[in-house]
Symmetry: C3
Subunit: 150 residues, 3 copies
């Protein structure tokens, strides 16, 4: 009698698969917000003030100490008047090295570097670069990272 | 024999429609978080420091230069000691005019204005007003805007 | 004839229940982001500057005045050089008492206290304590709180 049916009936397994497919289909739209539960912090350094540079590095160290370095992603973005933090002659150069070694990402703004005629050769080694510090900080927040301005 | 069945069977199309309805039903609850992917930045200016005012304006200009002015919404909110940025005699008055012309929204806190006995006639033309700067900054973040404190 | 079928057919009610179950199953993952619509602000105090301490307290008061104290949750987190705001001899001690009385939560960083050899007996009464100020500020943002750095 199955031959007389044009439509088939569904087993629970069939339905479960369909529901799973639906969930998978909509998940990407929400990925950004669900990722907000992760431990991720973007720190802004935009002051020409070594005291602030040390505070930022202290904050990073405290986040790692409290949560475990493996359990928190930290990115320090230096731009504008804060770019001096990442120059080769920075007074916190050795601490930047330690931060990089512990897994902190440290990024310099290339917009700022152009404005101050700084080349990568003028900067600390091991750091990374972003086109525009403010865009990086905005995008990290869009991706669910917490924001911290030491 | 179909006449003997009290419950109907479902075609794949029927099921897909039901699943779609379910997704549509839950989507509004997540609208706010999905909107977080847009390029929107609220900037806080709360220092009586023309250096910070220029930094805020530089940051706005860099966001527009990097992303295209049409692709990023920017709102500068001045309040507390930062209100001087938007007074008619502000040292950055001409730059505020340029920012407004390029599509940046610039808002003064009316709470602060009352406290400092400032009327709209004392302020730069073309700016907008919000009841309370801190409420505006909170609400923009709730709406998914990134936060930047220059 | 039901006995001849190995698989059963589904009624609309059965399907609706399944869909509801699916929605309920995925909802917790999104709870954090949907909660972002609430009025909740975490304020960072990390400067050794009584002017900033007063600004933070002004901001809290303005949020409550504008939204109604019952309609906004506010938490002030003092850490690093800002810890002095919450010491027993703080110049804003009486204002902290008022803020606590109006429902503002005020938290001191125990990491900072250890570093400065401060015990709870050295601090204002009525305040609360967090292990690490920066972790608290990060987690509040993850929970959907807006961030404000006065």
């Amino acid at each position: 009698m199955g031959s007389t049916r044009m439509h088939r009936t569904f087993t629970p397994g069939w339905l479960a698969a369909l529901l799973l497919a639906a969930v998978v289909a909509v998940a990407p739209a929400f990925a950004q917000s669900t990722a907000a539960g992760q431990n991720r912090v973007v720190m802004q350094v935009s002051d020409a003030d070594p005291g602030k540079w040390n505070l930022a590095l202290n904050n990073a160290r405290n986040l790692q100490a409290d949560l475990g370095a493996a359990n928190v992603e930290i990115e320090i973005v230096a731009y504008g008047p804060g770019i001096g933090m990442l120059k080769a002659d920075s007074v916190v150069g050795n601490r930047i090295g330690e931060a990089l070694g512990s897994g902190v990402k440290v990024a310099a703004c290339e917009n700022t570097m152009r404005g101050q005629k700084l080349a990568k050769a003028d900067m600390l080694s091991g750091i990374s670069y972003v086109d525009a510090g403010v865009v990086e900080i905005m995008q990290r927040q869009q991706q669910g990272w917490a924001y911290l301005r030491p």
